[in-house]
């Protein structure tokens, strides 16, 4: 156990300089975009005066030298303060915390659905003796991948909300119904069906393709032939020996996509009015809300680092040959 613990502590220590550099890079990269928040706020107001713009810049602190601004930001981060979003008149931390659950739920559910469906379809395509099944899986998933997300979303709305009236058009849950407990869970689930399905359709292809390819590779391995030679049944070999090892690339890719948990899916959140992080980040870019954007990028990068760590541990679980050190 000790080497694993030492490995974990070592990896976590690496986070500090990485986070420092990420902030530095983001801080200057974001300033390359022309226009600032004062421009945007004056633009939204529909008219402006020099005094109004000066008052805004003074309030934002963007009239200070850039280096001073950077030092201030580092100072705040050290005290776990992500700053203030002037466009949203709210703390960056509270904005992120309030938006995170919706996105985590949306992307998390879509990823789980996509992985399960993708692995199942991929496995089916790889092991089936019937060629047309593999062809069908490949065709269907490719169409899902190639169809624009917003279009799938809108078509689902037309069918299930407008024509059939089974599902609400958007939102997180019905705010005016005062649901509690189990009713609330059901209502959130109803609101989740279409966004989760649209997003999952997109991810399924990736996992199905990965699984098929990996299974076909693993099937040629010596230990598979050994397992077959010692008389194990084809289904047992296929699931325990082949699929387990074929899951490694799937784990790698889903680990990378955990980053999407926090950055979300802008398109789906926009179409379904889902109050998540993707739209928060997108709006922050359009509005040049630097504090908010820096905060989101900082949190996303931390999450990606943690996700990589978790992925490494899952590797070690799936494949005993991999050691953490």
């Amino acid at each position: 156990m000790l080497p694993r613990l030492r490995y974990l502590v070592g990896r976590l220590l690496q986070v500090v300089p990485v986070a420092f550099l990420i902030i530095l890079a983001n801080f200057f990269l974001l300033r390359l975009a022309p226009g600032d928040l004062a421009d945007v706020m004056a633009g939204e107001a529909g008219a402006a005066t020099p005094e109004f713009m000066a008052a805004l810049r003074q309030q934002f602190g963007s009239d200070q030298p850039v280096f001073t601004q950077l030092l201030n930001y580092y100072g705040k981060i050290l005290s776990f303060d992500l700053g203030y979003s002037f466009r949203n008149s709210a703390d960056v931390t509270s904005l992120i915390v309030s938006r995170l659950p919706a996105t985590a739920l949306l992307v998390g559910a879509s990823l789980v659905l996509a992985v399960m469906l993708g692995v199942a379809l991929g496995w089916l395509a790889a092991v089936t003796p019937r060629r047309w099944v593999a062809g069908l899986v490949s065709t269907v998933t490719s169409i899902g991948f190639a169809t624009p997300l917003f279009w799938i979303g809108l078509m689902l709305i037309v069918l299930f909300s407008i024509e059939l009236r089974w599902l609400p058009t958007g939102g997180f849950y019905d705010r005016d119904a005062d649901y509690e407990g189990w009713e609330l869970v059901v209502d959130v689930a109803k609101h989740m069906v279409m966004p989760v399905a649209s997003l999952a359709i997109f991810y399924v292809t990736i996992y199905a393709r990965l699984t098929t390819t990996a299974i076909l590779d693993v099937q040629k391995m010596d230990y598979v032939r050994t397992a077959q030679a010692k008389g194990l049944g084809p289904r047992y070999v296929s699931i325990v020996h082949v699929l387990r090892n074929a899951l490694l690339p799937v784990v790698t890719v889903s680990g990378m996509q955990i980053g999407a948990l926090i950055s979300g899916s802008v398109v789906i959140e926009t179409v379904f009015a889902w109050p998540g992080m993707g739209r928060l980040a997108f709006d922050a870019v359009m509005q040049r809300d630097l504090n908010l954007l820096l905060g989101i990028l900082f949190c996303t990068s931390l999450l990606v680092i943690v996700a990589n760590l978790v992925t490494d541990f899952v590797y070690a679980l799936l494949d005993p040959r991999i050691e953490l050190q």
Binding site: P34, A47, S161, A273
Partner: protein, 528 residues
Amino acid sequence: MTMNRRTFSGVSLAALLARTGSLRAADETPRRGGTLVVNLEPEPSSFLFNSNTAGILAAQVVEGLVEYDESFKPVPALAESWEQSPDGKTITFHLRRGVSWHDGKPFTAADVQYTVLEVIKKVNPRAGTAYRAVEAVDTPDSHTAIFRLSEPSPAIWAVLSSAEAPILPRHLYEGTPPLANPWNSKLVGTGPFVFKEWVRGDYVLVERNPTYWRKDRPYLDRIRFRTIPDPGARAAALETGEVHYAPFSAVPPSDVDRLRKLSNLVVETRGYGTFVPAFFFEFNLDRPQFRDKHVRAAFAHAIDRQALADRVWFGLAKPATGPIPSAHAELYTADVTQYPFDLKKAEALLDEAGLPRDAEGVRLRVNHYTMPYGDLFKRAGEFLRESLKQVGIDLQLVNLDLAPFLRQIYGERNFDTYSTYYNSSADPQIGVLRRYWSKAILKGVAWSNGPGYSNPEADRLIETSFTENDPAKRRALLVELQKIAQDDLPSINLLELQHFSIVSSRVRGLSTVRDGHSKALRDVWLVR
């Protein structure tokens, strides 16, 4: 949409009645209670001085000294009566007694004094210009506020309502920079609704003010302002009845005809007379090729503005005759130089200006920045490009988002041409005149005098109109200005865009007067 049994049973008798009765029905008794769901897009940053939608939010919670009636005459709100001295330099407001802020503190003249001097005059980016002459607000007693002006400012009478001059509670604002005050996003007012909750990216909730001074208002228990960023999803939410009211052209004009045909929705174009987006085409007058008026006139003659209104805006726009939109009837004139669609004349003017077609048939290559407010304005840019191509002008479109657009046009002033709209506002002094005023050539200030137009006579007319207290004389000055604007043609006035609301047939009591869109929804109620 097909009518299956389920949707048919949802169409109540009331909805059928509503098709004939539209938005008001005097023979119906208002029903109390219920939650009105309003789509608000874009989500404003706070209640104060942000986007057009911020004004709708603010109107529910705070009030102005006056409101406006059908003929845009002030009627009492926080002020019960008022009088103006003959020289127009003293305006006395007698304030309503027994009004309290939502936190229970009494409303007094000190609130008016503070708001006008420290907030409206200093940081209202639009109407501040009308309050510039207000030097002091005297408060001889707790319910009298006397505006002392250094010179008359007639435009002030158009911006005394909550839309531009919401009266704020002094006890929560004094001593803070108003734009940075945290109360801006959880406003405390005297209005019919009390702010309850703002979940960013999702909704703003306001609730009935049980102690509102208008005894039997409002009818609604709550209003929920929902953010639905996608126009297609907005249309769907209106169709299914999840949203009852969507102001400010919430769906693309191409969708309006389809929604108009639905039995449960009404399309309302009234109520936007103080928010006419005047859409225009601007030249950078620092560029040598645009110094010649013949060239600018050729552009104007090459654009079929009726076709632009019909094809891009599906009829929800009409050709502008000059800089001041026709909704401002008391100042508008159509008797100005027009540049009718005439390709031959455009070509002749360009020949005269010494711009012959080259080997590729092109006379002039110029860039054109389209307004960064969505696809509609890109389509308009494409229409302009195709129009001008016919007379040998190669218009190269550049589509940017808001921040770089403002930097490029008003910051760097690095452009040949661009198109945009300015909201005409409650008075042209706020929404129109800056386009023709040389003192509004302000580097780095959004939506200022973009072309860099400067004409001493125009300046004189504009500045005199600021302080001309006689309505007839003020009109004469601005009629003259409209003539000069159309003669000099620093910019082509293309269209008056028509904002519209999509309203559920269950909604009653929505105001349709000139500034209806920015009014409190205190008379609104929902049919079952």
